[in-house]
Subunit: 468 residues, 2 copies
């Protein structure tokens, strides 16, 4: 473990003070928005910097970095790119720990921009100052009240977030929060001129608050180091990555976006299989996989027991699992015998998928519960997909009670269990809401539930392959 | 066109009277729920039937079908399967136009059940009575106030719905309504013992209220006729199908669900390419395709112009389009020249994908509008994917105005245009809501927007292949 990384990056995630260089009082000025948000979050020490001096939102404005009396851990530069080298020099002289380069127009614009970028990094590093960006919004850490935008979650959770894209950085943080989870820390790292996504991955791998990592990555500057770092982190923390720019057309688009090198689909796939990185094709898939990987134990194999209330979901759930490479094996004779004692005779099935019929939807606290109890004990079954649907109830106390009964059975069974709600918007069963609030992954349709199990299985198989 | 179908099925979708056979006053009795819902919807003539007679919810109960004074167009039978043959005989004698068999336990249970099913159909057909089911909930038609469940939409729209699964029938109707569209008519057809999904498809094909059809199908009894019927309907109405039971495991599950014959993935694919049926793998994909196929004109080719506000969405949108078989061609020199007059110099791109930078998100009424205007005119471009994102506004009047400006530009351009919001739950831009309300397909992330365009293209290519 490279403890140097934690030492160097900690001040960028836990800065005792932040300078906002390039701030002005216009409402659309990015520095001004940072200032508002940091003050609102209660961040203790902010130094606005503008040659004109004066005061902004009640905070004294310093003419330059060197005029700031105390130490500056992090300087966020929202000045035009031409002004950056001089300010980087001042930061280096002040031994600022890190600078965030918000501006774009560097390596993604060609050789001249790349030369400017390299010069800035050289100047900064002379003072031991590390550079995040350019073309980024930098670090976010709710534990340190380092909240660069109003809209971002202010409570801390287990999910580390890395993004090469600034906009998608905010989007990922908000999407994580929309699942009910919260980010632990995050970084928008832009063009990776000095500190790269691999450095941040390594930092989050060592961060005790971070239990799982999601990342939107475009080009990778150091594939070999990513391989080593990701492989080690994956042993204890799942890493879920949406890779932008791996089709030919996407690679071209990425070059003009971040200016970093892209990798082809084939290279990316090989890298994922060696590192245990869970690769997804959309942000929705990322959040679906996140829920399962965060909340569920690891399955011992790829065999799914499917339990459904009325029929069509048994078929579509089975199709989806099968298409995604999971197995739907026959239950043992003992399981079938026990299920036969629970389900009604007509219009149901005690095979896998179990079809509990309409009664299952009407009285899940008995039928679904019993089916979970029986199927979870079957030695042929590694995990459960339960499609738990039907008309919505309107009795919160009953729904909470039903959810508690199911929760206790799921916990008792000890096997990874996802719930599929088949719930159109505005038509949620109350039990599902309570289950989701109690850390059970609930998906709106069978394919997404099956996808989450497939990704959970992929990670579990990686772990078995390296820790036999 | 087989007008016989419309003549025979019209009384099942526009019944002047409905008999509910097997009703009782217990709250979980299905007939009782149907009665409540039909009365609530204002359906004019309902005859509850129970040997005990009496009255239910203020409506006279008849001891049997033959005791009903007037004609009965549709009889919904919620009696146990053993009681069905005798009641079917009474329906036939009364020249009832159709019966819905709610019960299960027929052909899906093996030879004995199949024989019983065949006997019922034979008895019914002797009186000219057609059978829907068994194992189904029958017809739904808001125009005729034929609403079998409280929760279903009461207003009529353009979307015909067919489902082999009763639960997924309700789910599909609700999901259609959740998109903002409404169903025209629907049928849960169960095991296709007499009337099959192909009959209902043909009926909806001829129904003037129905402009587009979505279906959840399991086994197909008459593939040859489906081929002919679907191919003809596809010329004027898109048919979107989620096919359950085409993997080996799914086929087994389907057999015990509806008892119909399943088809393999390969056969299904061949059938779709010959008929123009748009096949989807999930209900979410079905609704995403529905919006695009319902609202958008047909693209002339598969070339997408991508317009985005800040960068990461340009890359992921391009990847998604490319993976799904769409092309992202170079713009003409004229287009690039015009775009250069609109976008800012730094951190943007006038190539395809266009990256408008942060200003695009801050002032879409100028930047996004201008980009749509310019790109829609490019002869290299057949359709547009616009990722229109950024922080949410809180000014409805402004949002409505921005939406109107964009709507007018999209209409002027005349090319199919989808919007990608990249909008986590609870973080919608107001403009997007107004656009969605104005019949522009809005998707929450690039992959789903690209998928919708890919399905639109697939349908358009089918049309060109048969109408060169």
């Amino acid at each position: 473990m490279n403890q140097n990384i934690t030492r160097q990056l900690a001040p960028l995630f836990y800065p005792r003070s932040v300078a906002l260089v390039g701030i002005s009082s216009t409402a659309t000025n990015v520095g001004y928005m940072f200032l508002q948000s940091l003050l609102d979050a209660g961040f203790p020490k902010v130094y606005p910097v503008n040659p004109k001096g004066g005061e902004l939102l009640g905070v004294k404005v310093y003419p330059s970095i060197k005029d700031i009396p105390g130490e500056v851990d992090l300087a966020i530069l929202t000045v035009p790119r031409e002004a950056v080298p001089e300010i980087a020099r001042e930061c280096a002289q002040k031994r600022t720990k890190g600078i965030v380069l918000y501006a774009s127009g560097f390596s993604e614009m060609g050789p001249e921009g790349r030369a400017l970028e390299e010069e800035i990094v050289r100047i900064a590093r002379e003072g031991g100052t590390r550079v995040i960006g350019p073309n980024c919004v930098g670090t976010y850490n709710p534990s340190a009240k380092l909240i660069p935008q109003f809209i971002l979650p202010k409570e801390s959770g287990p999910v580390g977030v890395i993004s090469h894209s600034g906009f998608l950085f905010y989007y990922l943080l908000m999407s994580v929060a929309a699942t009910g989870l919260r980010p632990s820390k995050g970084v928008s790292c832009g063009s990776d001129s000095d500190l790269t996504c691999v450095d941040f991955l390594e930092y989050l791998g060592q961060d005790p608050e971070t239990k799982i990592i999601v990342a939107y990555l475009e080009g990778i500057r150091d594939g070999h180091r990513l391989l080593q770092v990701a492989r080690e982190i994956s042993l204890s923390k799942p890493i879920i990555v949406m890779k932008g720019g791996h089709t030919d057309a996407g690679i071209k688009a990425s070059a003009s976006h971040t200016g970093t090198l892209a990798v082809s689909t084939a290279v990316w796939r090989a890298l994922c299989s060696q590192t245990g990185i869970i690769s997804v094709d959309s942000f929705e898939q990322m959040m679906d996989a996140l829920l399962a990987l965060n909340y569920l134990p690891r399955p011992k194999g790829r065999r799914v027991g499917i339990i459904t209330t009325p029929g069509g979901l048994a078929v579509t759930g089975t199709d989806a699992c099968s298409q995604l490479g999971l197995e739907i094996p026959q239950f043992t004779a003992e399981t079938r015998k026990q299920l036969a004692g629970v389900v009604e005779h007509l219009g149901t099935s005690v095979n896998n998928p179990v079809d509990l019929g309409l009664v299952g939807a009407l009285a899940p606290e008995y039928y679904v519960k019993e089916a979970i109890r029986i199927v979870a004990k079957d030695p042929n079954i590694d995990m459960l997909l339960t499609a738990f649907t039907g008309p919505p109830g309107d009795d919160d106390a009953r729904d909470r009670k039903v959810a508690d009964i199911l929760l206790s059975e799921i916990a008792e069974g000890g096997k990874p269990t996802v719930i599929c709600g088949a719930t159109p918007q505005g038509w949620p069963r109350g039990e599902l809401r309570f289950l989701a609030d109690s850390n059970v992954p609930v998906y709106p349709e069978p394919r997404r539930a099956a996808y989450a199990l497939a990704k959970l299985t992929e990670y579990s198989e990686f772990l078995r392959s390296v820790q036999p």
